[in-house]
Amino acid sequence: MTSSAENPDPTKPYSAPPEGLSSVSELEKVLRAGKFAVTSELNPPDSADPADVFEAAAPLADVTDAINATDASGANCHMSSIGICSLLTRARIETVYQISCRDRNRIAIQGDVLGAAAMGVRNILCLTGDGVGAGDQPGAKPVFDFDAISLIRTIRTMRDTGQFLSGRKITKPPHLFIGAAENPCVDPLEWRAERLAKKVEAGAQFIQTNYIFDLPRFERFMTRVRDLGLEEKVYILAGIGPLASAKAARWMRNNVPGIHIPDDVISRLEGADNQGDEGRKICVELLQKMRKIKGVSGVHIMAYRREHLVAEILREAGLTDR
């Protein structure tokens, strides 16, 4: 998937990106070339063994353009995103380093951005983060020193102005492709596109959305996005994923923040002989329909504990030879 030419060599000076690009990111290259991009996310291990990271990445590495390493998603503790990205980069696998504002303040985050860039990270996804109450350690202190948007602007300032937010100079600024999330299917529905505009204004270059199971809602969102001319300014990757069963879908809807699954999707799963197969079929259908929506530049497949299905989903959707 990734070419090896620009991969970091610790003995060589930090190199500047090619003309017209803000990073040496393969994902940025794919998107700028107008190809339909596919990213996916990895289930981070509860382990200190690098082999577990490579095992988790194996089903995704050859079929996607980049792998997101989540940053304690759902406020559950796992191996850190920066650790995973560092390992995968060394195996020449393109990563998206996720930063949530929940756990670290501005001092820690700006330092990590430099550290990540030095270890070969080229794509960063800026997230607000779920509340600590959603996870396995609800007694933790929520930080939220930045919000996703001030974080985006800060990283852009570090990259383009070569300064920390304190004004101190960064001798070698990081070359990064900056991303953000958006959740088109939850309230306030009428303002989601405006919020996306704010992220673009702050400096976001690509968007990976939360799960979309409600196509009409997503289409309305995209219409508004086009009205605002945002699809010209940012690459939007629509978030999809295969549901395992009606029970799992209900559980997600009730327990994971920001997940909207319409009732008709759940009843379709319930009525199927093999609910897992049906979940995959729904995902393939959504992918094919999203591909036709103007302004959608790719998909982000979140197949939690079903990563083995990603290759199949892409094949069935006719996306193997992109």
């Binding site: 504002c101 929940r102 501005r106 607000t128 983060g129 779920d130 509340g131 109450g133 959603a134 929520p142 939220f144 020193d145 930045f146 919000d147 996703a148 948007i149 001030s150 602007r153 800060t154 300032t157 102005t161 300064q163 920390f164 937010l165 304190s166 004004g167 101190r168 999330a181 958006e182 959740n183 939850v186 309230d187 306030p188 009428e190 303002w191 405006e194 919020r195 505009a197 704010k198 204004e201 702050a202 939360n210 923040p257 920001g258 909207h260």
Partner: protein
């Protein structure tokens, strides 16, 4: 108070007018304030501000009030203290992810902004809060900043932040302040 806070957002247009008038008055009073000394005014003004805004908006005295840019819904009541819009976890009907019984502060904010003359200001990218200013009067800061809008700070951190968030500097200067703080306690921060 939660109920009063909802009422204030419902009447965001009226509060926008009141706030604009208050700001104009404060800016006009700047020469007088300077003569009295912002230092000496800080205590009494912040007491009044805390009481009035606490009652109406559940104000948390962040010291960098941006109510006019957030539909008169105070963002510091968001459990994640987001300054730039709702997170992705808003519950159906517009309720908070973290406090399910509370209306999302940012759903209210966008609703309030939709009734305001300068409601578009909610689209401006705001900087992170300067935690050193917590508990101080944002009213005095805003008037000082507006009155001295051309002043360039000798504080590198402030200048850098104001440059990184230029729109916020113009519309909500208290959120990206440049003027010297009257409180001499504020250290300029050791930089190495």
């Amino acid at each position: 108070m939660y109920r009063l806070r909802l009422w204030a957002v419902k009447h965001s247009r009226q509060f926008e007018r009141i706030y604009a008038a208050l700001e104009t008055t404060l800016v006009k009073l700047h020469p007088l304030f300077e003569r009295i000394g912002y230092n000496r005014l800080e205590r009494p003004v912040s007491v009044v501000e805390r009481t009035a805004k606490g009652l109406l908006f559940d104000c948390k005295m962040c010291g960098q009030c941006v109510l006019s840019s957030t539909g008169m819904s105070c963002p510091m009541n968001c459990p994640k203290q987001l300054r730039n819009g709702p997170c992705g976890g808003v519950r159906p009907g517009g309720y908070c992810e973290v406090k399910p019984d509370m209306r999302c502060v940012w759903v209210l904010a966008w609703d309030g902004a939709s009734r305001m003359k300068e409601g578009y200001r909610i689209g401006n990218v705001l900087p992170p809060v300067d935690r050193q200013l917590e508990g101080t009067s944002a009213w005095l800061r805003a008037s000082r900043e507006k009155a001295l809008s051309l002043q360039v700070s000798d504080d590198a951190e402030r200048t850098s932040l104001a440059r990184a968030f230029p729109t916020a500097r113009i519309t909500e200067p208290a959120a990206a302040p440049l003027a010297q703080e009257p409180d001499t306690q504020r250290k300029s921060g050791a930089r190495k």
